[in-house]
């Protein structure tokens, strides 16, 4: 084989590798990227019904209940404007507390509750999960907008 042919083969192999990698990446992104929605967005029916997503906000004070099986918990996540009930079977992370920020990953159930497969831990008491902080500030901004401007005009702008 001539050196020129070899170089061609090497280049072709490199391109094929890149193509395969790109296909893998795109495919994986399509299936595995998890979007984030706030309770307000879920209330506005913006969240998907058939795929998993994340919800974030604050655990409402006094909302944490344990079902009779002792292992399933229910709590309400709020962004101060809207709320969403969450059901989760399993151990809660150490720093899960009422009145503190939380992020849960799961799907919307037919009962209208969010069935979490994972409730995310935070590592530090002063740390608010960024998604939760985002949801709270969004709801805050929307409320402020409503109180100043005509609500009909403000609503679409507030819920991006």
């Amino acid at each position: 084989m001539k050196p020129r042919h070899q170089r061609m083969i090497a280049i072709a192999a490199g391109l094929a590798l890149l193509a395969i990698a790109t296909a893998l990446v795109l495919n994986a992104f399509q299936g595995n990227v998890v979007f984030f929605f706030s309770p307000s967005q879920i209330a506005a029916k913006e969240a998907p019904v058939d795929t998993a997503f994340r919800v974030g906000g604050m655990v409402q004070e006094g909302s944490l209940k344990r079902r009779a099986d002792g292992i399933t918990v229910e709590f309400i996540v709020t962004d101060t404007a809207k709320t969403i009930p969450v059901v989760y079977r399993g151990l809660l992370p150490d720093l899960f507390k009422e009145g503190k920020g939380v992020v849960a990953q799961g799907r919307l159930g037919p009962d209208g509750a969010f069935h979490a497969s994972e409730v995310l831990a935070k590592h530090d008491e002063n740390y608010m999960p960024p998604e939760a902080a985002h949801a709270l500030s969004q709801a805050e901004a929307e409320k402020a907008a409503r109180s100043v401007v005509n609500p009909v005009v403000a609503a679409p702008g507030g819920s991006r």
Binding site: A10, L17, A28, V34, G70, P130
Partner: protein
Amino acid sequence: MIPEIGHFALIVALAIALVQAALPLTGAARRIPGFIAVARPAAQGLFVFVAIAFGCLAWSFYSNDFSVLNVATNSNSRLPTAYRIAATWGSHEGSLLLWVLMLSLWMLAVSVFSRSLPEDMVARILGIMGLIAVGFLSFMLFTSNPFERLIPAAPDGRDLNPLLQDPGMVFHPPMLYMGYVGFSVAFSFAIAALLDGRLDATWARWSRPWTTAAWIFLTLGIALGSFWAYYELGWGGWWFWDPVENASFMPWLIGTALIHSLAVTEKRGAFKAWTVLLAIIAFSLSLLGTFLVRSGVLTSVHAFATDPKRGIFILCFLAVVIGGSLALYAWRANRVAPGARFDLLSRESMLLANSALLLVACGAVMLGTLYPLFLDALGLGKISVGPPYFDSVFMPLMAPAILLAGIGPLIAWRKGDAAQLVRRLRWVAIAALLGALFVPLAFGRWAVLASVGLLLGFWIIAGALAALAVRLRSGTRPGPAFLGMLLAHAGIGVFVIGVTLVKSYETERDLRMAPGDTAQFGGYEFRFEGVREANGPNYTAARATITAQRSGGSVVRLEPEKRVYLVQRNPMTEAAIDAGISRDLYVSLGEAVEGNAWTVRIHVKPFIRWIWFGCLMMAFVGLLAASDRRYRAVRRLEDAPAADATVIRRSPA
């Protein structure tokens, strides 16, 4: 007074670093011996002053000096001594100081163990490392001074994050940083060679032991971090594809490609430009990792208070280093003489393909890590890219790399013999297939992924054994470096087998258990005996006793704890693990519920220890390679022009 001495030492260190960067680099370019001679003493002086600064900070932590802001926010008078000292690098500022300390340690090592290198080369290498030190020292002095005073002093400190109060905190960060920063040596060698135009096999031989050393530290650091997360976080996971983990894994991937590529450059004179590029990328990724972890872009256990000024500083530094070195590369790389020719079927092309695969896999990891950050920064919405993405991209890319790693040692340099290769691979393939078919039977459940993983694991181990057999039959005694390579490959095999078995056959249950309750799964019967109080020096705890018994086997006693640390008042899960070669039993305690019961999470994790044992085997390669006489006797080889030829003749052809 002590903190001020530390602060002053840092300022002196910055001044020395400026001198160390300016004079030797100018001296090497203009051939001024006086300037060149500055490099070594400057590097040693820099080490002394950084060590003084570090000592001062450690002393402030040790002596509970709560008039230092850093101490007041990260320590407490009731914190045990070992953790008080480890808390030195528990904060953003302190960890930067550790970074610089490691950098100056590497510089010291270069200045001492480089007697065989030409003086102007040493001057260039230390000059470039000096430039890096200038960047980091000014970052510390201008944006994150670890010695900042708190006036009036706090009566007591806010304590170290309880998660960090663990022996892992003492070893993981220094080890990891040693590896991260170690790539600065390979980087400086590469830049020095580009500046000098002396990119040849000798350069690769100098650069190799340094790169291997850094790679070993990084491997150990990552493995320690994974092990720590496994037993400390209480979730039983060992790798989360968390951005911070990825930040350390990306330089590892490129570092792995780099040590292989360096081997080719040294032995065959090929891939010079490619090797240099990998050296630049490896260190750039170390810097990117520092940026990701330290800038506040990410929030995790590793990231601290956000200060935009810091992020922008590191980003600019990153742009200068990466942009500058890539520009230099573009300018100089075409002057590199082409290397020796090789056939498509040869060890060279196997290694080239492997490093390309590692580079692409690293790119995929980087994409998954940075894409959510970009979207967020541009205000396009919040997404998360979790383990499923990384699993489905990374594994298909690594599978061919592992197949090639099994073949590589069996094929000759330059021109492979296809018929001979097939003969050698026959037994390897049979062994791998047998393992892949029969091991799942032992677990009673067959799964495609389990078989694929086991096939790869056994393939690379059998490949390493076959290479050893070939070498022994050829009558040449295998050198330590060759044995080290085989051991590292076998380590990957052990790692892959461990990962496969854990992923395929682990079981996990979340349960509510009252005293006397039992649960059966994973071949064990678990029995909840009860909970009692057990207090530590700076925490109160509830300690449960759970016994596990395999039918007919002995009883294993597990005592997981739920701790509440006195200062930060947060609950902390302390898992109990019964470790074994073939399985770990892992129990963590949830919370107390009605009826004197607790929630409990129990895992049975088959062969999980193999994951870290495989990493240890990989790290061990370095000790063997470092003991190879060829590196200790660099001077002799350098004097002998036929050195390369001897090396080539020694390998089986």
